[in-house]
Symmetry: C2
């Protein structure tokens, strides 16, 4: 990269709590003018995620590009894209939750890298975390480092994959969001596996989010007070 | 994997010479009953490739699944998917031919792994070769090994990426195809960058293929004799 050019960053923005926190992390590190965001329309059951991502990006003042991926639904067989499979908290024989899309983050990050390449963006930011990774092996630090190596070899690039939440608990992620001024954006995010807004409060994803906010002693702006 | 189960293999079949040779390599190694093939419909300008893949798989007696990828054309800007960009033999400033789709093979192999995962297929075969790699860094041995590591970490799998052509010259690839009985299938393949059948004979891809057959002293069954 030309040292006179500002470093640019691309945030993989799902419309959820973690990627929204990462967006604000990237804005602090790279400045909003150098940050853009990418969201994947991969056939997720909860289309509201795409709206959330767009609203979060607009509030933060960064571009948001939605890229379609029609391949996962063609491969089929997972709860987050196949409407016929009910989400459950049960795990498969391999110990993975049935919301597992094999390699989903690998695909997202590889497409992000392909998007970044012609735009001279050398930093990709993703909200994956292994602390609370819920059995998703594509969120782990060693997976990310191996993928970074594969991407840089495969594209002859000097890309860095930033994972600011990798070793944070949900509590620490909420605290980080608060420090970064990301709490107002949290009201625009989507977390619930059941697609409800306000969130159902009962699914594993809602419970994890609620526990994080409770432990941080911070009110979740998404949850309507009774 | 259960040792009593036969090892299964998935061939990434483009409809070209190299992946067709790999299909016959896989059939010899794993037996036709254990081999299936996958072809990506990623918006390539030459739709004939999809027909070629189907015909090659049918001749070889293996299943062929076509998976769509609508993401590359959304990212845009490469000659193989963007009809407005003429193919040329010129290279970009980065030294890559303008047919380069950043990370294309990384995406193909990651989707292949996601397809293989629920089907208990632990072998993926791809025709990438670094000998004649024409500037495509995603065809190199070190890229493939790094990707294999990333996929196995990211999916908690024990996948092997087989690259039987990796260190072969085009001449040696033709000789291998001949040894494997793959020459009849070569008449069904597609190579020409200009999408012509019989091939144009002038594009870099046709020239590379012709040189391989000439050096092996074998007639290319695709080329009509005058």
């Amino acid at each position: 990269m030309n040292d006179l050019m500002p470093a640019k960053a691309l945030v993989v923005l799902s419309g959820g709590q973690d990627s929204t926190t990462c967006l604000y992390w990237a804005i602090k590190k790279f400045a909003a003018a150098n940050v853009s965001s990418i969201t994947f329309d991969y056939g997720q059951r909860h289309r509201i995620e795409l709206d959330c991502a767009r609203e979060v990006a607009a509030l933060a003042g960064v571009e948001n590009t939605v890229l379609p991926i029609n391949t996962f639904s063609a491969i089929g067989g997972d709860a987050l894209t196949d409407a016929e499979i009910a989400v459950s908290s049960k795990v498969s024989e391999a110990g993975l939750p049935n919301t597992f899309v094999p390699g989903r983050n690998l695909i997202f990050l590889t497409f992000a890298a392909a998007f970044a390449y012609p735009r001279a963006i050398e930093n990709i930011v993703t909200g994956v975390a292994q602390t609370d990774y819920s059995g998703y092996p594509d969120c782990r630090e060693d997976t990310m480092r191996a993928l970074e190596t594969a991407l840089n070899l495969g594209m002859e690039s000097s890309l860095s994959i930033h994972t600011p939440l990798m070793h944070l608990s949900k509590r620490e992620t909420v605290e980080l969001a608060s420090e970064l001024g990301a709490l107002p954006a949290m009201a625009l995010t989507h977390t619930c596996y059941n697609g409800e807004r306000p969130p159902c409060g009962r699914c594993p994803s809602c419970e994890l989010r609620a526990r994080g906010f409770a432990e941080a002693g911070i009110d979740d702006p998404l949850v309507r007070k009774s």
